[in-house]
Amino acid sequence: MTTNQPAIQTFGLTKAFGDVRALIDLDLEVYRGEVFGFLGPNGSGKTTTIRLLMDFIRPTSGRAEILGLDTRQHAFDLRRMVGNLPGDFLIYPQLTVEGFLKLCSGGRPGGLRRAEDLAERFGLSLTRKVGTLSTGNRQKAGLVQALMHDPELVILDEPTSGLDPLVREEFYRLVDEEKERGKTIFLSSHVLPEVERICDRIGIVREGRLIAVEEVESLKRHKRRHMEVTFASEVDISPIKALGNSGVELVASGGSFIELSVPEGSVDRVIKVLAGLPVTDLVFPEATLEEAFMSLYENAENGDAS
């Protein structure tokens, strides 16, 4: 259902807080109908980007468009079309969950019925006071308010923070359903398996700069993989060490066991070297996004973000 029409576009979006540049020259396109993960460690600029998109803070320079509308000039109209879950939010503790959702339903009819369905799916009681909710239940209430209006675009800041694994899985299923229905989802996260599970593409941000935008599958295909090899007896590993020229790293070795980090394109060479050795076991799992992410991060630190 992904189209080439952008749901979110930013043009040199920059935000400085005093001398600190929290976001630098962000040029980003998120397409309609896709699930886009915005990754980076704490303080990398994810929340700043989301708050700029929602017009909670104003850019130092650059601008952004959502669904073709300027985020500053059409902030009010956009809030009818966009669902948002802020990071670390709190709301009036005296309200019941139902009261909180009623407050958020103003100006957009029909949300409460869907809110009830969503609350049931997440196992959220509508009668409890917001102030008595655990972090996870408060997050569920936030997710319900973000999704209750069936918005075209949902912007979520670390949506599964505090959720237990079962609810997290329910949330993933919901994201899949929303995507099937052609909705666009932009979410920030630093939980890599989550992004791997639900996102079509990811953007990686580091110290306020976007260092990569890739499809999840392609990112995994292109990055280093981890390999563990066990031999029948202690072997001479000098041929393996020689693979260092091809970027293969000997992560650990001891007796009849070695652990390697293998870059894309060197697998063939490694297998050929191993073929001449008495291998009794080989573990070579699929590349995880975490490895890809770390690899990209290391490359960026070394000044090579490609």
């Binding site: 708050r51 929602m54 909670f56 803070i57 104003r58 009010f76 809030r79 009818r80 948002n84 802020p86 670390d88 939010f89 709190l90 709301i91 009036y92 005296q94 309200l95 009261g99 009623k102 407050l103 958020c104 339903s105 103003g106 100006g107 957009r108 936030g142 308010q145």
Partner: protein, 273 residues
Amino acid sequence: MKRALVSVHIRMGLYGNLAWAGGLVLYAAAISWLYPTISAVEGMGDYLDAMPEQFRELAGVSDLTQALDEQGFFTFEGFLSTEYMSWFPVLLGIYAIISGVGLLAKDAERGALDIILGQPIHRYAYLLTRAATQISVLGVLVLVSYVTLLLGAALINEPISELNLLYAHIVALGLIVSLFSFAVLWSAVFLRTSRAMAVAGLATVLAYVVNILSPSLGPFDWLEKLSPFAYYESLSLLNTGDIDPVSIVVYAGIVVAALGVATRVFERRDLVS
């Protein structure tokens, strides 16, 4: 959204506002109940004449008893003015300032602004809706005071002009809402309760002190005109019922200017979280 906001904030502030209303009722009732006893005391003039010279200088009169008598101090209106009407806008003013500085800053500090302003509501509409709600609450509290005093006067059989008492309350409300609006302005500027309270509170205390000390300020007595308290003269209002149009203009001007600037600032600024 606006209606829901009003309803939520009225419900959230209900117990606090009921406590304020209860306090005002007790205060107003006690003052009404005390008057027959106090007015029967002889020698009040001697008591006032025994005040130190410095006190009389501070008040700007040489014969305190005569001055107060001329102003109607020894009537029920005078007693009400001294013991209640001079203090009640100060008390409600404190409440107005506390609620004003928290209007935006509390929501910002608890992280609620991102949720609320993520809904389809303009920032100006949010601010003005919240302000209008609180001004209405202040209006109800002033009404409670008015009704309690009327009932109190009736119970002790002291005739008082309902209209004059109403005018005094209306001008008092103007003063209270001015203080509230001024506090809202600083709430919008800082989005931090402590900083807004420091500035709004200090400025209000200064304005109050300037108004109190104005008779002894000599060539600087014009400073009194900078204090909103100078435009509220409860005794004159209770005695004559003449509302000085300047006071209405000043209070309306403060409210419009403070809320206007607050809206402008809030529209333009980053929401801190």
